[in-house]
């Protein structure tokens, strides 16, 4: 498919933008909701039900999540095919990031297919009475857990490092020192988000750490399904 030059530029701009809003914004929301698991099964299930019960939810999901992700993925794969990675010859730090950005993106395609299928469309997920219980069961397989940890890290990396690219593409940072700081800030985002994401995963297995909370949360006793009274 050949598109005109100006459409091409617009598509590239939208690719860059969609990674931040809405996909990046969704990632943050997703982590926040999943971190409800730290507060117990009931808190998480309630948060999930709350989201599912939002007005216009189908429109929000389709237009705000599925379509942007699909668009970002398809264009991203096309972009990755124009690259000729040369880490072996030129091992500069930013070249590593360049390659990792493409690699994490491709990995995320795999991960997201598995992740959405297993948590949204698989028979077990559809019939599970409690999403929390289902996730606990799902993540109790070490292989699945490890795959999820990798997925979380890849997503955080792709998003955080993507912010760096975004800042240059849109001309938010121009000087060498500003770009260097943007790179450091991006890595800080990657680390913090990864820890948050992994902690949420741990919460499902009952090992999450309750950090930075104002009120003492109820014990993360996953067997008490109506722990909400404690809050």
């Amino acid at each position: 498919m050949r598109v005109s030059d100006s459409t091409y530029y617009t598509l590239k701009r939208l690719h860059s933008l969609s990674g931040v809003v809405p996909i990046g914004a969704f990632l943050l929301e997703h982590f926040l909701t999943n971190s409800r698991a730290l507060q117990g099964a009931a808190a998480f299930d309630r948060a999930a039900a709350e989201l599912a019960g939002l007005p216009y939810v189908v429109l929000l999901e389709a237009g705000g999540i599925w379509m942007p992700i699909l668009f970002h993925m398809v264009l991203g794969i096309l972009i990755a095919t124009t690259s000729q990675a040369n880490l072996d010859r030129h091992g500069y730090a930013r070249n590593w990031h360049y390659s990792l950005q493409r690699f994490s993106g491709l990995f995320l395609v795999l991960y997201l297919v598995y992740h959405t299928w297993s948590t949204r469309f698989s028979a077990e997920a559809m019939s599970a009475p409690s999403l929390f219980a289902y996730m606990r069961e799902h993540l109790s397989h070490p292989g699945v857990f490890a795959f999820y940890v990798l997925g979380v890290i890849a997503a955080c990396y792709h998003f955080g490092n993507g912010l760096f690219g975004f800042a240059i593409h849109w001309g938010l940072v121009t000087s060498r020192s500003a770009q260097r700081w943007a790179g450091r800030a991006a890595m800080a985002v990657v680390v913090v988000l990864s820890l948050v994401g992994i902690n949420a995963l741990l919460a499902f297995t009952g090992h999450g750490l309750n950090l930075f909370q104002k009120h003492a949360p109820p014990p993360a006793d996953v067997t008490v399904m109506n722990a909400s009274e404690h809050r």
């Binding site: 617009t10 040369n86 010859r89 930013r94 070249n95 360049y98 390659s99 593409h169 001309g171």
Partner: protein
């Protein structure tokens, strides 16, 4: 340990389509030799290390003082100017010479860098003056801008930046870092600024600025230390402005 001989491994290719092959050479060490003076030694007596007679090696060079860029090749895998690459600065091991990999090979270490010059034409890397009458002196440029402009004007189209750019290859139409940086240079010039929009439009399509993947290898290897990635940030800002202006009717 100081070397007493200079050993070279050179990748050769007889015609643009012939298969490449390697040849090894050896010569007595002398102080202050550079890669080109080694090639000149071989030209005097084109005999391989094994004593086999061979053809002289073809390479490009012109200025011999790192301002024309034509002698650029890979020395031990790194793109650089062979005229200023001192042998004594290289590790005491056979020096490996290869032609640049991103441009078509003419012969041996000679490559055809037309693609880079096409890029310069595409972005109109010049100041348009028609020359039919005296325009008088041009507007003055501030000292700070002059300094930046000077940095960009040092580009010698050597192709080092294109060589290491993962986005500059046969699979993409990317014009590469060097021509992009020239857009930054000529758009900031008071007279050149009159064609700023045209230049920006020339890099807003396929193969333009948005092809850059921010690997930032280019700026690592540029022998003239041209602030390439700063140019990309500034051009990103300028093209974004123009894009919005065009989208919303400007």
């Amino acid at each position: 340990m100081a070397r007493t001989t200079i050993e070279l491994r050179i990748k050769r290719q007889d015609t643009p389509t012939a298969a490449p092959y390697w040849e090894e050479f050896s010569m007595p060490w002398r102080a202050n030799m550079n890669v080109i003076s080694c090639l000149m030694e071989i030209r005097k007596r084109p005999v391989t290390r094994a004593g086999q007679k061979t053809t002289p090696i073809a390479w490009d060079a012109s200025c011999l003082e790192e301002v024309c860029g034509s002698c650029t090749m890979l020395v031990n895998g790194k793109p650089c100017q062979s005229c200023t690459q001192l042998v004594d600065k290289l590790p005491d091991a056979p020096i490996v010479l290869e032609p640049l990999t991103k441009f078509p090979i003419v012969r041996d270490l000679q490559v055809d860098r037309t693609r880079m010059f096409e890029g310069l034409k595409q972005v109109k890397a010049w100041i348009a003056i028609d020359g039919t009458h005296d325009l008088g002196p041009g507007p003055r440029v501030s000292e700070s801008e002059r300094e930046i402009a000077y940095a960009f004007s040092r580009c010698m189209t050597c192709g080092c930046c294109m060589e290491v750019c993962p986005q500059f290859n046969d699979r993409s139409d990317f014009i590469g870092p060097a021509p992009l940086a020239q857009v930054r240079l000529f758009n900031a010039h008071p007279t050149g600024h009159m064609n700023a929009r045209e230049r920006l439009e020339s890099i807003m399509g396929r193969g333009g600025l948005s092809e850059c993947g921010n690997a930032q290898n280019c700026v690592e290897v540029c022998p003239k230390e041209i602030p390439l990635t700063e140019a990309f940030g500034e051009l990103g800002r300028q093209t974004t402005g123009l894009w919005l202006k065009k989208l919303f009717g400007g």
